[in-house]
């Protein structure tokens, strides 16, 4: 059943690859979570890891983040091998991972606080990104006073404020309701455009993946492998509502669904 499509591998690396994943395998005891993953991620692009649950997409993201060690293989970020978390990568968590005892401002500035940046400077940067994600006026609120969507905006502002080259987003919108999710996706596209960072995005929503991605990596489950890479060439200058009804957009959604439906029960 494994019929891997020929991939671009490390041999013909594009010069602008920020993150390179080489032959990553991951086993949890007897369970093989990932097998032979080879991928590259270019600067300024948003790549989505998409697949059914159990395909190891979050595991792969955490290996790239340096939070989970790979069983074999290498991850190379900016030409250096990853051995743990590093300042050039920032992570956005599915459950937000905000400190409930700290204000929005302190949460956003926490990455900078850990770097030992003086308070005035880190608050200035944090305020800038709080404004960027549309949370001005909420600086002194606590996480439990915010809605789920607003909490994730705090998580995203925190990731931006450390000025990492690579942003790793682990199903960031899965705990956000549908209307806010769409607004969120639009805001994310604006930020991708503005910040010129490399985004790695994990989701299980096909529509979301097609809407936000420059490139979609489809993973197949048990063990997780790359089954297909799709580059939805969608004109992002159009209005969001136009894009969502665009034929090209809908065709890509359909194509991915055809690729994934074999895994649906």
């Amino acid at each position: 059943m494994a019929n891997p499509i020929p991939l671009r591998t490390a041999d013909n690396a594009t010069p602008d690859a920020v993150v390179e994943v080489r032959d990553i395998c991951k086993r949890y005891g007897d369970v093989e979570a990932l097998r032979g993953i080879n991928l590259q991620f270019e600067r300024g692009k948003l790549t989505t890891l998409l697949g059914p649950s159990g395909c190891g997409k979050t595991t792969l993201l955490k290996i790239i983040a340096g939070l989970v060690p790979a069983t074999s293989g290498q991850v190379i970020v900016n030409g250096r091998q990853v051995t743990g978390p590093g300042p050039e990568r920032a992570f956005v968590f599915q459950d937000f991972a905000l400190m409930p005892w700290a204000t929005v401002l302190r949460n956003v500035a926490f990455g900078l606080e850990l770097k030992g940046m003086p308070q005035a400077e880190r608050h200035r940067i944090a305020r800038h990104y709080i404004n960027e994600v549309g949370l001005s006026g909420f600086e002194e609120k606590y996480p439990h006073e915010l809605s789920g969507g607003m909490r994730q905006r705090v998580g995203i502002a925190r990731a931006f404020s450390v000025n990492a080259d690579v942003l790793l987003l682990d199903e960031p919108f899965s705990a956000v309701d549908e209307q806010n999710r769409r607004k969120f996706q639009e805001d994310l596209l604006r930020l991708v455009d503005k910040e010129r960072k490399t985004f790695l995005f994990v989701t299980h929503s096909i529509e979301e993946a097609v809407y936000v991605s420059d490139r979609i990596v489809l993973l197949s489950p048990r063990p997780g492998r790359v089954s297909q890479i799709i580059e939805p060439a969608i004109d992002r200058s159009a209005a969001p509502d136009v894009i969502r009804r665009d034929k090209g957009y809908l065709d890509v959604v359909e194509e991915i669904w055809q690729g994934l439906r074999q895994y649906a029960e």
Binding site: G84, A97, P100, F110, G111, H144
Partner: protein, 250 residues
């Protein structure tokens, strides 16, 4: 509270029962129950006596020392149990056993070990309070969300920083809840310890008053103790609520 559509103030029930007590006392039914008014009068007299002040000093001293020790041992032990499996395996069984054990039964043994003095009472307070503090601190550390620790690692926190800035703060509401319950248990410990040792502090006074059938003073002392325990609990609860507010919904 409302009764027959009329709003009645909170202290009403207290005043009502005090009145019933007063009437029963005046009727002279049983010598155990003197009128409330004379108990209160005895109370005011009592707090001016040197023996009461001395007993209070001893009680407070043993209580504060015992609690300080219980917190100083209980919180670090609970945190270590929550963090390290091996510590948990070593102490888990004992802590769970002692938290529900009838510790009063141990006091006579303590008397043999530590003599008929303040040390025994101090150890009793410690033993009454420490276990629940350990268990709550352990629970608090164990419920720290794994993603919060991953967040710390991602943004470059050292193990020590993760411990001080994330784990301890995250466990703070549970640690404080444990201390509050520990304080209440500690009050029981100090009273039970003193009564069983019975030659120091309030234990001596209780012994003296009940033997000489001085019921006014006996009840006055009881009421003072009850009130002190309630005030103590309320103070910690107030402090705890503020922490809970910051900790908010997890």
């Amino acid at each position: 509270m409302k009764l027959f559509g009329i709003k009645i103030p909170m202290m009403t029930s207290l005043i009502f029962w005090a009145l019933v007590w007063e009437i029963v006392g005046r009727m002279d039914v049983i010598f155990l129950i003197p009128p409330m008014s004379s108990i209160i009068a005895a109370g005011f007299g009592l707090v001016q006596t040197g023996s009461w002040q001395n007993a209070t000093l001893i009680t407070l001293r043993t209580f504060v020392l015992g609690m300080a020790m219980a917190i100083a041992v209980g919180v670090p032990l609970g945190v270590a149990m929550g963090r390290f499996k091996i510590v948990d395996n070593i102490f888990g069984l004992w802590v769970n056993m002692f938290v529900s054990a009838p510790l009063s039964a141990l006091v006579p043994v303590l008397m043999i070990l530590f003599g008929l003095g303040e040390t025994t009472v101090f150890v009793t307070v410690f033993l009454f309070a420490v276990w629940i503090i350990v268990l709550d601190a352990r629970a608090g550390v164990m419920q720290v969300p794994p993603s919060l620790i991953e967040m710390g690692r991602c943004y470059g926190a050292s193990r020590f920083t993760i411990f001080t800035k994330i784990i301890l703060l995250s466990a703070l509401p549970e640690i404080l809840a444990g201390i509050r319950i520990g304080l209440i248990r500690g009050v029981k410990g100090v009273v039970i310890g003193q009564i069983l040792v019975s030659i120091i502090g309030y234990g001596e006074l209780f012994e003296l008053y009940s033997r000489s059938f001085d019921m006014e003073r006996f009840w006055a002392l009881t009421i003072i103790l009850f009130a002190a325990a309630m005030v103590l609990s309320a103070v910690v609860e107030h402090f705890e609520k503020r922490i809970e507010y910051y900790a908010g919904a997890r």
